[in-house]
């Protein structure tokens, strides 16, 4: 099982390294969005607006990044892969790959965001990074499953967004709360209970993806 997951993960990275335009496209998408925000807002002195905008940008970038996780595979490759690997291994590999992708995207986004939108207001950096890490995990668990559903329909891009938004809301509200605490430099003990909730949400969405994915791929 673990070996299968590792091989599939390796396959994802190999594919990505051979089609660099796709990851470069995502990064450019992120940078352009931040630049548009910069041109519209000019500056964002209010920390809660700074925080909310950062996560909304990441939300859209994440949906865009994960939506292709099942759409890019051609029909023939799909069938071939599913005869070779178990569905559980496939979903675990896709989730891990998307998690890494989202972490990389959010870190790049964070740096560009700080540079373009004036200064780094964060007082508790380790907490903020933990938040980004756990948030990316949760996003990828939900979004990977939704992309598996959306890829099977004939309306996939709209569906990807409308299916994911309501399911991501609990996650994003918790994530925003924690990063707001990190910006304000509140005592970490206040954030522990939110971190526990975030971890729990990740666990639930991961478990649901793991359990339900086998029903999604058989035709």
């Amino acid at each position: 099982m673990l070996k299968e997951v590792r091989l599939l993960l390796y396959k994802e990275f190999l594919l990505e390294s051979r089609q660099k335009q796709s990851i470069n496209g995502l990064i450019l998408y992120l940078i352009s969005t931040i630049f548009v925000c910069k041109m519209c807002f000019r500056s964002l002195p209010e920390p809660s607006a700074w925080n909310a905008l950062f996560w909304i940008i990441l939300l859209f970038a994440s949906i865009n990044a994960s939506s292709k996780s099942f759409m890019q595979d051609s029909r023939a490759r799909f069938v071939y892969m599913y005869t070779m690997a178990s569905p559980q291994a496939i979903i675990l590999a896709k989730i891990s790959y998307n998690t890494i992708l989202l972490i990389v995207l959010s870190l790049i986004g964070f740096v560009v965001y700080i540079i373009l939108l004036g200064g780094n207001p964060i007082q508790n950096m380790p907490l903020f990074l933990t938040d980004v890490l756990l948030g990316s995990m949760g996003f990828s668990a939900v979004l990977t499953s939704m992309s598996a559903i959306a890829a099977r329909t004939n309306n996939s891009f709209t569906l990807m967004a409308i299916l994911s938004f309501p399911l991501l809301l609990p996650l994003i509200m918790t994530v925003v709360k924690i990063s707001k605490n990190a910006i304000d430099g509140l005592d970490p003990s206040i954030s522990y209970k939110y971190l526990v909730v975030l971890f729990g949400l990740n666990l639930i969405s991961g478990a649901l993806s793991y359990l339900l994915f086998p029903y999604l791929w058989k035709d």
Binding site: T153, P166, L167, K193, V197, Y215
Partner: protein, 229 residues
């Protein structure tokens, strides 16, 4: 009419007449701000109970469908979700009316209200998902998976998040729920029958919808096999 099969419909009628008559004419404790709006307890709260019951039925039949692949389960899941959303919209409207007269606004930023809105968003997305897949089996499976995923996340949202933040809603953040006002338990005498009545009404509407849907499906299949008739 088969008495053995339909007794619960008679009970539904009796309970709802009792709810409406007692709910509008019966005595309620007079309280500041709430005044007569406390009667909304007999309508707004039971509608949410009805919605949750129906959505729960929908998820159960979704799981059943994934388990046995029967199209009948998918039909029940769909109609239960439809009826649940109707109940939810009614709950939203009654809640909004109540908020207008007690909080002074139709809608406000509050975790309980957001939970309700998200539930609606999830189920509208569910219907759009159903509309976007042509193959019947695939549609049934995809929407069952989504409804299970969404229902669990919704429960998490409705149950956990309000406990993390303060809320204006009665029963949260130090705001008393009706049990505090209802010292002589008179309201309970109407409230519990009202819950049962509205839930049963929802199930009744659902069962009628299921019958209509299965008849129209049968008619469709019939006209496919006998194109001239």
């Amino acid at each position: 009419m088969n008495i053995k099969k339909n007794w619960w419909k008679a009970i539904t009628c009796v309970l709802l007449f009792y709810t409406v008559i007692e709910g509008f004419l019966g005595a309620v404790p007079a309280r500041d701000i709430l005044n007569e709006t406390i009667r909304n307890l007999y309508f707004h709260v039971p509608m949410w109970f009805g919605m949750m019951t129906l959505l729960f039925i929908s998820v159960i039949y979704g799981i059943k469908h994934l388990h046995n692949g029967a199209m009948r389960s998918d039909l029940i899941a769909r109609e239960a979700a439809h009826t649940g959303v109707i109940m939810g919209v009614l709950g939203l409207i009654t809640g909004s009316l109540w908020a207008r007269y007690t909080w002074g606004t139709w809608w406000t930023q509050d975790t309980k209200l957001n939970g309700a809105a998200i539930t609606m968003l999830i189920y509208f997305a569910y219907f759009i998902l159903r509309g976007s897949v042509e193959d019947e089996q695939k549609r049934a499976r995809l929407s069952a998976v989504y409804s299970i995923f969404a229902f669990v996340m919704m429960i998490v949202f409705v149950m956990i998040l309000p406990r993390m933040e303060d809320s204006l809603h009665p029963g949260n953040g130090g705001n008393p729920a009706f049990s505090k006002y209802d010292l002589d338990s008179k309201m309970r005498l109407v409230f519990y029958p009202a819950v049962l009545g509205w839930v049963l009404l929802g199930v009744w509407i659902m069962s009628v919808r299921i019958r209509i849907a299965s008849i129209s499906e049968a008619l469709l299949n019939h006209s496919d096999t006998h194109p001239t008739s």
